[in-house]
C-alpha cells in the first residue's frame, strides 16, 4: 500500500513539476487564450453599429419628403443617414457600390392612395448579408414602417380634421339656409340647388371615409425589405469565412511545423553540409506550399460552392486573386511563426493562438464594425480578415474587389513572405 502511494505520488509530482518547469507552455496555453478572450470581451461594442443609409423621398410630394427628413433625423443612433435624396436610381447605384448599406425608398402620394383603398409600400434595400443583420434589417423595416405610418397618420388626421372643418362649415351653411327657409326668406331655386350640392359633397366625403378600410387608414404604408443580390442561407454566409480561415490556418501551421520539425530532427544539419543553399530551401518550401495551398483553396472553394451552394457572384477570378494573396501572406506568417517558435510544440501553441485571434477578430464571428475602433487593428494583422472582407464582397455581393483591403492583403502577401523568407534564410545560415 505504501509503495503504491509512493508510486502514485511520484507520478503526480512529476506531472506538476514538468508543467511548472515550462513557463512558456503555461503562458501559451493559459495566459494567451485568456488574454485574447479579455481583449475580445472588452473590444466588442454593446450597441449595434450604425448603418450607412440613404432615404429616397418623393420628388412631387414635399410634405412626405418633410416627414421622411424628420424620420431620418430621429434615427441617428441606429443609422448614419447619408442624406435624403430624390433620385432612386442614383441611390441604388450607391448601394451597389458599397457607399451605403441601406436605401429606404418612400413612395409618393401615400395619403392619396389611401383614398383609393390601397396601401403604399416602403421599399428597403440593403447590402447586409450577415443573416443576423439581415434579420435586424427586417425588424428595422417594420419599425420604420410603423414610425412613418404614425407620422403619416398624424398628418392624415390633421388633413381629415381640416376637411371635416370644411364639411362642418358646409353643414353650417346648410343649417343657415334651412333657418332662412323656416323664416320664409329661402326660396330661390338656385339656393335649393346649392344646398343639395353641399350636402352631396359632405355625404360623398363621409361616404369615402366610411368606406375606407380602417386598417389602411391606421397603417397606410407597408414595408418590403430585400437584400441586393438575393437572400443567403446561414451556411452560405459563413462559407467565405471558412475558406479564408482554413486556408490561413492550415498553410501557416504546415509550413511552421515543417521548418520546426526539420530543425528538431536535425535535418537542417544535413542541409547545412549539402550544396542546398538556404535561399533554395526557403524558396522550395514557398513553392511547395503555394502548390499545396492552391490545391487546398480549390478544394475548399469547390466544396463551399457545390456542397453549401455558396454563390460566386463576382466570378472566380477575383476569388482566385484573393486566395493567392492570402496564401502568400499565410506562408510568410508561417515562416515568421517558425522563427519565433523554436520547437514544434511552440509552433502548435502559436498556431492555436493565431486561430483564436482569427476567430474572434478576423470577422468570422462578428463583423469588425461590431468592435471598438481600438480593437479592430488586432484583426488587421491577420491575412484572413482582409481576405474575408474581399471574399464576401465578391462571392456574396458580387462587388468588385475593394481597393483598401486588396492593397492591405497584397502588402501583407509581399511583406510577410519577404520578411519570413529572409528570417528563415538567416536562421538557416546561423544553424
Amino acid at each position: 500500500m505504501t509503495h503504491a502511494l509512493v508510486r502514485l505520488f511520484g507520478v503526480v509530482r512529476k506531472e506538476i513539476v514538468e508543467i511548472l518547469r515550462q513557463p512558456g507552455l503555461l503562458i501559451a496555453l493559459v495566459v494567451g487564450p485568456l488574454a485574447i478572450l479579455l481583449l475580445f470581451g472588452s473590444g466588442v461594442r454593446s450597441v449595434d453599429p450604425a448603418v450607412a443609409s440613404l432615404f429616397v423621398a418623393p420628388e412631387d410630394d414635399p410634405e412626405v419628403a418633410e416627414v421622411v427628413r424628420r424620420y431620418a433625423d430621429s434615427q441617428s443612433e441606429r443609422l448614419t443617414v447619408e442624406g435624403v435624396v430624390q433620385d432612386r436610381d442614383a441611390a441604388m447605384g450607391r448601394l451597389r457600390r458599397g457607399e451605403v448599406e441601406l436605401v429606404v425608398i418612400v413612395p409618393s402620394q401615400p395619403l392619396e392612395r389611401i383614398e383609393g383603398g390601397e396601401r403604399a409600400t416602403i421599399e428597403v434595400f440593403h447590402s447586409l448579408i450577415d443573416p443576423l443583420e439581415a434579420q435586424a434589417m427586417q425588424l428595422f423595416t417594420r419599425g420604420a414602417v410603423n414610425d412613418l405610418n404614425d407620422l403619416l397618420l398624424d398628418r392624415a388626421i390633421q388633413e381629415t380634421q381640416s376637411r371635416e372643418e370644411t364639411a362642418l362649415e358646409q353643414v353650417q351653411v346648410a343649417r343657415d339656409r334651412l333657418s332662412a327657409a323656416d323664416r320664409g326668406t329661402f326660396g330661390a331655386a338656385e339656393d335649393v340647388g346649392q344646398l343639395r350640392q353641399d350636402l352631396d359633397a359632405v355625404a360623398e366625403q363621409l361616404d369615402a371615409f366610411v368606406n375606407t378600410d380602417s386598417a389602411i387608414i391606421v397603417a397606410p404604408l407597408e414595408g418590403e425589405s430585400s437584400t441586393i443580390g438575393g437572400q443567403l442561407e446561414v451556411s452560405q454566409f459563413y462559407a467565405p469565412a471558412v475558406v479564408a480561415l482554413i486556408l490561413q490556418h492550415l498553410t501557416l501551421t504546415f509550413i511552421a511545423l515543417s521548418v520546426s520539425r526539420e530543425r528538431e530532427q536535425g535535418s537542417t544539419e544535413l542541409f547545412a553540409v549539402s550544396p542546398l543553399r538556404p535561399v533554395e530551401r526557403v524558396v522550395g518550401k514557398l513553392v511547395a506550399y503555394l502548390l499545396i495551398g492552391g490545391l487546398l483553396a480549390v478544394v475548399l472553394i469547390a466544396a463551399v460552392a457545390l456542397v453549401l451552394g455558396a454563390p460566386l457572384r463576382g466570378g472566380i477570378a477575383p476569388v482566385a486573386v484573393v486566395l493567392a494573396l492570402e496564401l502568400l501572406a499565410s506562408i510568410g506568417l508561417g515562416f515568421l511563426l517558425s522563427h519565433v517558435a523554436k520547437r514544434t510544440l511552440q509552433v502548435v501553441q502559436g498556431a492555436m493562438l493565431l486561430l483564436l485571434l482569427s476567430v474572434f477578430f478576423g470577422g468570422l464571428l462578428l463583423s469588425p464594425e461590431r468592435l471598438f475602433p481600438w480593437a479592430r487593428p488586432v484583426g488587421w494583422i491577420l491575412p484572413m480578415s482582409h481576405a474575408l472582407e474581399l471574399l464576401r464582397d465578391s462571392m456574396l455581393r458580387g462587388r468588385e474587389l475593394a481597393l483598401l483591403p486588396l492593397a492591405a492583403l497584397a502588402v501583407m502577401a509581399v511583406g510577410l513572405t519577404l520578411l519570413g523568407a529572409i528570417l528563415a534564410t538567416r536562421s538557416e545560415r546561423r544553424a
Binding site: 530532427q265 536535425g266 535535418s267 544539419e269 544535413l270 542541409f271 547545412a272 553540409v273 549539402s274 550544396p275 542546398l276 543553399r277 544553424a431
Partner: protein, 335 residues
C-alpha cells in the same frame, strides 16, 4: 599538442602545410588551434589535426568528449570560437557548391524524414546534391547497405540499424571524395558492423577520405589513423600501432617460458638495453610481457639472453594489446 607519431602514408603535421619540396599539402581536412565554447563550457580545447587524402581517420573518444562538435566544426555546421578550420583548403562555412558536392555527411542522429519511405528519403537526399535521375544510383547504394528489400518501408517503421544504414546510403549517394561519418556503427549488430567496415575500407581503397567518429574503441584498429580525444583535447594522433607504442612506451613482446622465471632473471632482463619494461602476464609467472623499442629485433635477442640464463623460451610473439587497453593507458597518461 597531442603526442604525434610518424605517419604511415603522406605523413605531415599541421605546421608542414608546405612539404619539404615546397609542394602544398593536399590534406582535405585541417584544423589549427581550434577552440569551441558553448557559453562557459569549453567543448573543444586547442585542437589541431590534419587528415590526408585517401585514409580512414578514426576519431575515438568517450561520450561527451567533443567528437560530434569536431565533426560539426569540420562540416561548417558550427563555427570555431577560435582557431582555423579548413576543408579542401576553405573555411567550411564558405565552401562553394562544387566543394560541398564532394562532401558526404552522415550525422549522429537520424535526420531524415520518418514519414517518407527509404527510397523517398534517398531520392530527396540525391536531389540535395543535384542528382536528378537517381533511381539507378539509389538501387546501387541500397544494395551496398543491404536494404533493397526495405526500399518501400517508411523510415519510422525501420529499425535503428536500418535507419543508420539509410543515413549511410544517403551520405554515399553522390560518390563524395570526403566522407564525414558521426558514429556510423552505433546501433549496428556485429555482423553489420563488420560489413560496414569492409565497405568503408573499400571506399578508402578507391581514394576517398573518411573521417569518422566512434565510441567503440576497438574499431580504431580498422582505421589508418586514429585521433584520441577526451574532454575536447586531442590526446594522441597516429596509426593504431603508433598509439599502442605510445600507450605502452614501445612495442610489446610476450615471452612464454617453460618454467617460472625467477626474480633475479627478471631483474637482469629489465637491465637489457632493448627493454624498457618487464612484467608478468599470467598468474603462474611463466609468461613475461616485455616492452621494447622494436619487437622484431628484440624478440630473438631476449630469447637468447634468457637461454643464457637457463630459461627455456618456448614462444616469443608480438603482443597486440586490445585497443581498450591502449585507450585506457593513453587516458591515464593524460596530464
Amino acid at each position: 599538442m597531442p603526442d604525434q607519431m610518424p605517419r604511415r602514408r603522406g605523413a605531415h603535421a599541421w605546421d608542414g602545410l608546405v612539404r619539404g619540396n615546397g609542394a602544398p599539402v593536399t590534406a582535405p581536412i585541417q584544423m589549427l588551434s581550434v577552440d569551441r565554447r558553448f557559453g562557459d563550457h569549453q567543448v573543444i580545447d586547442h585542437l589541431s589535426l590534419a587528415v590526408e587524402q585517401g585514409i580512414i581517420y578514426g576519431f575515438v573518444g568517450p561520450s561527451g568528449s567533443g567528437k560530434t562538435t569536431t565533426v560539426r566544426l569540420l562540416t561548417g555546421v558550427l563555427a570555431p570560437t577560435r582557431g582555423t578550420v579548413l576543408v579542401f583548403g576553405t573555411n567550411p562555412k564558405r565552401l562553394t557548391t562544387r566543394q560541398r558536392e564532394r562532401i558526404g555527411y552522415m550525422p549522429q542522429l537520424g535526420v531524415l524524414y520518418p514519414h517518407l519511405s527509404v527510397r523517398d528519403n534517398l531520392a530527396f537526399t540525391a536531389s540535395l546534391y543535384g542528382i536528378g535521375r537517381s533511381r539507378r544510383r539509389i538501387r546501387e547504394v541500397l544494395e551496398m547497405v543491404e536494404l533493397t528489400d526495405a526500399r518501400s518501408t517508411k523510415l519510422r517503421d525501420a529499425s535503428g540499424g536500418m535507419q543508420r544504414r539509410v543515413a549511410l546510403a544517403g551520405a554515399l549517394l553522390h560518390r563524395p571524395d570526403l566522407l564525414f561519418l558521426d558514429e556510423p556503427t552505433s546501433g549496428l549488430d556485429p555482423v553489420l558492423r563488420q560489413k560496414l567496415w569492409e565497405h568503408l575500407q573499400r571506399l578508402r581503397d578507391e581514394g576517398e577520405t573518411l573521417f569518422l567518429t566512434t565510441q567503440i574503441v576497438s574499431e580504431a584498429t580498422m582505421c589508418d589513423r586514429v585521433g584520441l580525444i577526451a574532454h575536447g583535447r586531442l590526446l594522441a594522433d597516429g596509426t593504431p600501432d603508433d598509439l599502442r607504442r605510445l600507450a605502452f612506451g614501445g612495442e610489446v613482446v610476450d615471452l612464454r617460458c617453460a618454467d617460472l622465471v625467477d626474480a633475479v632473471t627478471l631483474e637482469e632482463l629489465r637491465r637489457h638495453p632493448a627493454v624498457s619494461e618487464v612484467r608478468r602476464a599470467d598468474s603462474d609467472g611463466r609468461v613475461l610481457r616485455v616492452t621494447v623499442d622494436d619487437a622484431e629485433s628484440a624478440g630473438p635477442a631476449l630469447t637468447e639472453a634468457l637461454h643464457q640464463r637457463g630459461v627455456d623460451v618456448r614462444l616469443a610473439e608480438r603482443y597486440q594489446a586490445p585497443f581498450d587497453d591502449v585507450f585506457v593507458a593513453l587516458l591515464e597518461r593524460r596530464p
